[in-house]
């Protein structure tokens, strides 16, 4: 059976899960202009941007012959939890036969979750499913760790593009991992690859660190956020995201591992005391967290008219003032212009540099 899934962040990692279970995997093409246009054309006008990109991705996957699409759901109040329902209807309306299987949170709908797991498992044993899941999880966390490191050192690379090249090589290494042994091998190779990147020495006080917060899909997927981390790296800033897929998995699925996220949420309590959907509360917490860890600025990404992030955005000016940290909000959708955003980002980084210099002089 040909299966597919959304394209979000470390695809190398989670395609493993399906490969290990013996499915024929159709990786949807990395979102391009065509994906976005296809999605926008076949979605409600005011659906959020991730909805449209996923719609486009699913259509492209169907064109390649996907018969089964796995995705995650939710139970509100953010719209993302309802994506699957509309996607399935739209695909059917367009005449595609593919079935959409949505994983809701286990606590919300036990029976549905169990049925979906059985569906995913197919003829495999539960042991095999567990092993595949565990391997996927480990690959995912290690890739996330690498990515985090690369975006910290890439502004100081001697030769332009060497960090990006390293990232591609590392992904290739991990693509060939099928068991624990392979994992260890990939790890040692990765260390070598990273060691080969030549770095120039920069004093701690001259470093600029920027945190990236926002809605999970636009934060995780470089192809639809203009490769924000690379842009900032090229401008000489270290970056760190608020979200990594493995951390999201920790929080959602692994009991006892979501401590970090809970700590972040506790920080936000003062501003938003309940979960209002999406990652609005976490993002407020991350602003405070980044500030406490000495970051110089924050870029806040959100899809146009994202419901929870609009609440965050309304609070941001006040937080920026109280915590004395510059925050730039960028709204992304199918009509966002790259040059316009680049100009804003450059101006933002200039501002941070000046602010930094002024602090050192005084």
């Amino acid at each position: 059976m040909k299966v597919s899934f959304p394209y979000m962040g470390p695809v190398t990692a989670y395609r493993k899960l399906f490969e290990q279970l013996g499915y024929e995997v159709i990786v949807p093409p990395r979102p391009t202009q065509r994906t976005v246009e296809l999605g926008a054309k076949n979605s409600p006008e005011f659906a959020c941007f991730p909805f449209k990109v996923l719609m486009g991705s699913y259509i492209e996957a169907c064109e390649l012959g996907a018969e089964l699409i796995f995705s995650s759901g939710g139970h509100g109040p953010c719209r993302a939890g309802f994506y699957g329902e509309i996607h399935a209807r739209n695909l059917k309306n367009l005449g595609y036969q593919a079935e959409v299987v949505i994983f809701d949170e286990p606590l919300y709908n036990w029976k549905g979750f169990y049925n979906n797991v059985k569906r995913l498992k197919g003829d495999n044993s539960f042991f095999r499913l567990l092993r595949a899941t565990f391997l996927t999880y480990r690959v995912m966390s290690e890739l996330d760790k690498c990515e985090r490191l690369l975006h910290r050192i890439s502004p100081y690379q001697r030769k332009a593009g060497s960090a990006e090249k390293a990232w591609l090589l590392i992904q290739k290494e991990y693509a060939n991992v099928f068991n624990g042994k392979g994992l260890a091998l990939a790890r040692s190779k990765t260390e070598e690859i990273i060691k080969e990147i030549e770095l120039s020495k920069v004093e701690e006080r001259d470093r600029i660190k920027i945190g990236i917060i926002g809605e999970i899909y636009v934060v995780l997927e470089p192809s639809i956020n203009m490769g924000i981390e690379n842009i900032l790296n090229d401008l000489g800033c270290e970056t760190e995201r608020s979200q990594y897929l493995s951390e999201w998995v920790d929080y959602m699925l692994i009991p006892g591992k979501g401590k970090k996220e809970k700590g972040i949420m506790a920080k936000a309590e003062k501003y938003i005391d309940i979960v209002i959907g999406g990652h609005a509360k976490q993002n407020i917490g991350h602003i405070i967290d980044f500030k406490e860890r000495g970051f110089d600025g924050i870029v806040h990404l959100k899809p146009f008219a994202c419901l929870p992030e609009l609440v965050t955005e309304s609070i941001i000016p006040e937080m920026s003032r109280v915590y004395d940290i510059p925050i730039l909000t960028l709204s992304l959708d199918e009509q966002s212009g790259l040059t316009n955003n680049l100009t804003r980002i450059e101006a933002f980084v200039d501002l941070i540099r000046k602010k930094d210099r002024a602090r050192h002089i005084s």
């Binding site: 005011f46 509100g76 309802f82 609440v311 309304s314």
Partner: protein, 329 residues
Amino acid sequence: MQIGIPGALLYQYYISFWRPFFEELGFQVVISGNTNKELVNRGVKVSVPELCVPVKIFIGHVFELLDKGVDFVFIPRMEAIRRGEFFCPKFMGLPAIMKYGVPGVKGKLLTCQINARSDDISNYKHYLPLLDKLDLSIKELKKAAAFSGEKWKRFRTINKMGYMSCEANKMVVEGVSGKELLPKENNNHIKLGLLGYVYNIYDDFVNMGITGKLNQMGIDFITFDMYEEELLDQYVAQLSKPLFWTFTNKLLGAGYQMLQKKLVDGIIHITAFGCGPDAFLGRLLELESDRAKIPYMLIRIDEHTGENHLQTRVEAFIDMLKRRKSKIS
């Protein structure tokens, strides 16, 4: 002491509860006036551009109350009125948006958390956070909540007889109990479903008086608030996974009922620019209207909408319905 209640968002649905509630507790209730251009502009100025119009209008109303010098502005956090469902995240974050995003509100915000099991929000427990701020006793609170809960139920009774929320609210104030009323009857030829949240269909500024226009044309229409909650729930249950937002579900249930029972000749859905839940609701209704072969028109309104365009579209839609009806019969 004066307590201000903004005449926006859920005002039309719950004012029959909130006004007597605060009056019974011995406060003077001040309600902001009708929405107008200047008020909207003030809201637009301070809010994040992408917020939906209803929230911007709400901010405008809050400003008007502050101008009037009220001691507190009542902005409850509407969290849920059904188990497992929510309000739109913007409603849930409304007090936060107001407190940190709108200058001048911080010291005057009167808020509490409403997390009820049904549309009836008269349980005194929701209002406990008000005790300290307003210096009340639990006994007073209980009494006022019970008293105004009755008023609100009376409003719903009248509302469900086919009177619009705004009419029903007025009748409650005038002391109509609902028992002496007959269900509103109309013998007009064209029957229309008018779907939209209370803050869109009953705010004459934002929808440019569409209800008045329809009345003038002699068109009979039904809205979601005229339905029994249980009936709506039945239709919502058709979805294997219902939507997450209670009022969106209500609209969906009303829409499904109208379409499947072929109760109406056409549906006009009024939505505000940037309304997230409506993006999905619209798609679901669109699909259902295809199946039922009943015309469905979506009108999106925002702070820039021109009145003529709306008039033309509504008239053209009605003309089409009339022609269609004469052809079929």
